[in-house]
Amino acid sequence: MTTTFGTMDRRAAVKGLLVDRKNLLVVSGLGSPSYDVFAAGDHDANFYLWGAMGGAAMVGLGLALAQRTRPVLVLTGDGEALMGLGALLTTAVKKPANLTIGVLDNGHFGETGMQLSHSGLGSRLDIIARGAGFSDVTEIADLTHVEAFRPHLHDLSRGPRFARIKIAPGNPERALPPRDGTYVKNRLRQHLGFAVT
C-alpha cells in the first residue's frame, strides 16, 4: 500500500477555515491542532483540549447537540481521531446537522517524534468515516479547496460533515493556548450566555 502525504501548510489551512468565523464554536484536539487553532487567533468560542486523546469529536458532539443554532467545528489530528474511531460511528448515527469533524491528517504522530500513524501506513480515515455513516465526506488537499469548503462549516442543516484535511508532515513552532481547562470552560460558557456561578 502506498501512501502519499499532503503538501498543505497546516497553519494556513486552519487559518483559512477559521477566517471570518462568525458564530462558529471550535473544539481542538490535543497537540498540534490546538496550537493551530490558537495560532489562527484566540477566541472565547474555542475549547482547546490538552489531553483526553480520542475525545475531541465527542466533546464536539455534546456541544453541537446542546447548541443546535450554532455551527460546531472539531479540528483534530489523525492520531487523535484514530484513538476514538467509535466516535465517528456515534456521531454519524446521531446526525447532528450543525457539526463538522475536520481531521488534519499528516499521517504521523507529530507530538511524539513523528512516528507514522495508521493513516500514514495506509488506513483511510475518509473511507472509515463513510463506512461509519457520514454521507458528507470531503477530502481537502489545497488552500483553494479550504476556501471552497469554509461556507459549509456554517451550514446548520446538512451535517454532520467529515473532512480529511491533507497537510504536510512537520511541526511548526508551537503556539500554546491556555492550559487551564476550567478557565477555558468558563470562558466558553460565558460566551454562550451562561453565568459563572
Binding site: 464554536l25 473544539v27 475549547f47 483540549l49 490538552w50 489531553g51 483526553a52 486523546m53 480520542g54 475525545g55 475531541a56 469529536a57 465527542m58 466533546v59 464536539g60 458532539l61 455534546g62 456541544l63 453541537a64 447537540l65 446542546a66 447548541q67 476514538g84 467509535g86 466516535a87 460511528l89 456515534t90 448515527v93 446521531k94 481547562g181 476550567t182 477555558v184 470552560k185 466558553l188 460558557r189 454562550l192 450566555g193 451562561f194
Partner: protein, 184 residues
Amino acid sequence: MAAASAETTVDAALDWPLAIYTTLKSYNVKQVCYVPDAGHSRLINLSHDDPAIQTTVLTTEEEGIALCAGAWLGGDRSVLLMQSSGVGNCINMLSLMNACRLPLLTIVTMRGEWAEFNPWQIPMGTATPAALELMGVTLLRIETPDEVAEVISAAATLAYDGDQQIAVLISQRMLGRKKWVEAK
C-alpha cells in the same frame, strides 16, 4: 391490606428506573448517553421516548465522558449510563472532567459483586469503586429501590451545582440475578 401493601412494594421495585427518570427530569437533564445494560433498559427506553432529551448510544463508555463534557460546555445537563464493566474504559477520559472541573453524573449498574455467574465480570466489578475513586470520582450507592430518588437527587446536586464527578452505583443485589436459562 397486607396484600395491597405487598403489591405496592413490588410496583416500587419494578418502577425504580422511572424514579431515576423522573428525578433526572426534575433536574432538567437534556442529554442521556449510554452503552446498554439490561439493568438500564427501561430507563434507556424512557429517555428515547422523550423528545426533550437527546439520547445517544455510544460504542464505548469513554465516549460518554467526553460527550458529557461537550454537553456542559453547551449548557446542557447530561447523564451517562453504563454497567460496571465499562468503568475501566473511562479512566483516562476522566482527566478531562478533573482538569476542567466539569460536572459528571454517571449511573452504573453493578456486575460481579452479588450472585455473579460469570467469572469474567468479577475483576472489573470488584475494581469499579476503587478505579473511579482513583480518578477523583465520588461514589454514591443504591441498595434498595426506595432510596433511588433520594440518591439520584443528591448525586445530581453534587454534580451540577457542586461541579463534582459523581458515580451512582446500583447494587447487583437490587438488580437481581441474571436468568441464564429460560424457565420452562
